[in-house]
Symmetry: C2
Subunit: 271 residues, 2 copies
């Protein structure tokens, strides 16, 4: 049986998922202040022990999604929510601790896989997953698989530059998409409505479609519930910045699975 885990900045979500994509049991744990590699491994491991005790005869496997730069072999190079995680081999450490296979990837990739499997991506072969929340996360799905690129972390779309001389970004660059079209970006710039957010969202979406030629897009993340305040204006701006032939094929869907997407995708990754 499979456990999908979504490790966010605030919550650790765990789900027991069957082969059909049904979540048989759920846990949502507040992470709290202890955020070292060791304490998180401990937190997952103790919760796993409890889950295991209810189903003692099952052969378990774990898929884990983490916000951040995640490379091959399940190494977290850096994470915005876990600053102490530097080149942390979380897959290896966790697997050693609980003695079962663990596979790790970036959380936006997991959300994309979840939506592909059970949500808004059903029926689509290729699409761009955009998660709008504190930052902008992204994933590129090609032929029903997450595209990783050479470095293992394709889809760092939040650090596409939309305003070369714009404000500094935490990544060291300037004018990254995430500086404008994210919750933290709005807060930092003191935006009280979604006007600027919508404008830059449209700019970035147009760029992504022009570069990749992928015309199907799923918008997810914490801010998806407020899409009525920004999506219509973003779509208008996007249209202005794409060729008619490209625009004609653009299809945008809202994510369907909410908080379950990451858990389902993490489980799907190892099924």
């Amino acid at each position: 049986m499979t456990i999908g885990i979504d490790l966010g900045g605030t919550h650790l979500r765990m789900g027991v998922v069957d082969r059909q994509g049904k979540i048989l049991a759920r846990r949502k744990i507040v992470v709290g202040g202890l955020r070292t590699p060791k304490s998180i491994v401990q937190l997952i491991s103790s919760n796993f022990s409890e889950i295991k005790s209810h189903r003692p005869r099952v052969r378990w496997r774990i898929g884990l999604g983490v916000a951040g730069i995640v490379g091959e072999g399940g190494i977290v190079y850096s994470s915005p929510h876990y600053p102490q995680w530097r080149n942390f081999k979380v897959a290896q450490k966790l697997s050693q601790r609980i003695n079962i296979p663990v596979v790790v990837d970036n959380d936006a990739n997991m959300v994309a896989l979840g939506e592909l499997w059970q949500g808004a991506g059903q029926g689509w072969d290729s699409f761009l997953m955009i998660t709008l929340g504190t930052g902008i996360g992204g994933a590129i799905v090609i032929d029903k698989k997450v595209f990783h690129g050479d470095n293992g972390f394709a889809g760092e779309i939040g650090h596409m530059v939309v305003e070369a001389k714009g404000p500094r970004c935490a990544c060291g660059s300037r004018g990254c998409w995430e500086v404008f079209a994210s919750g933290s970006g709005m807060e930092k710039r003191g935006d009280r409505n979604f006007g600027r957010f919508a404008y830059y969202l449209g700019v970035g979406l147009a760029s992504l479609v022009n570069v990749t030629g992928i015309q199907r897009i799923i918008i997810g993340g914490g801010l998806v519930s407020k899409s009525r305040f920004y999506l219509p204006a973003a779509i208008r701006e996007m249209k202005r910045r794409t060729y008619a032939k490209t625009w004609a094929g653009v299809k945008i869907r809202l994510a369907k699975l909410g908080d379950d997407a990451g858990v389902l995708g993490a489980a799907r990754m190892i099924l």
Copy 2:
């Protein structure tokens, strides 16, 4: 036997190419003022007849690369150099005229295939091809194949926005990469040296690598011969705007095949 054709804004280049990628014969014809669909089909067809007369017993096939927005089935939706071409089914028309199979794609895709086959892309599975000339052309090669996206024309990287409120672009958008980091962009903005060009080249390269996770890049196009004036500064800017882990894997090569790349790639497309 295969004929690779590269239809640029000034010249029509044709090459007889064998299976090993050797160009057995070359033609370079000035296109001149007659640029209608009909006159270009005529020009290719008369040159093809001459080539054929030297090798009467051969079964010919033609691959053709055209600058512009080229869709599936060899339709040119629009071309900067051939404004009268609107939704022109060039593959079909040419094939009917000369009675052999013709396959058509975007010229930057052909250059990428050519470099992959015989040039700077040898030994690379995936890379970004950037052609710097009058405009910016691009192609995305994944697992040794050109990635086309849903619309058939992925790699319109010249219309990635790098300065959202920047100057108007011919495409209808504003602040496209091509407005800054291209020959025509420099001319329009009265730039006399490559300072601004280099800066924006670096900005755009960083964005592309962040989005796609593809770290291998080939720089080609007419301006590649001047790369010493802009590439070092562009690379410095690119480094500032990428994660250390991403930057560590970046490899940039200059195109090797010059004007032959398009001809070779066009031939490769149908081999």
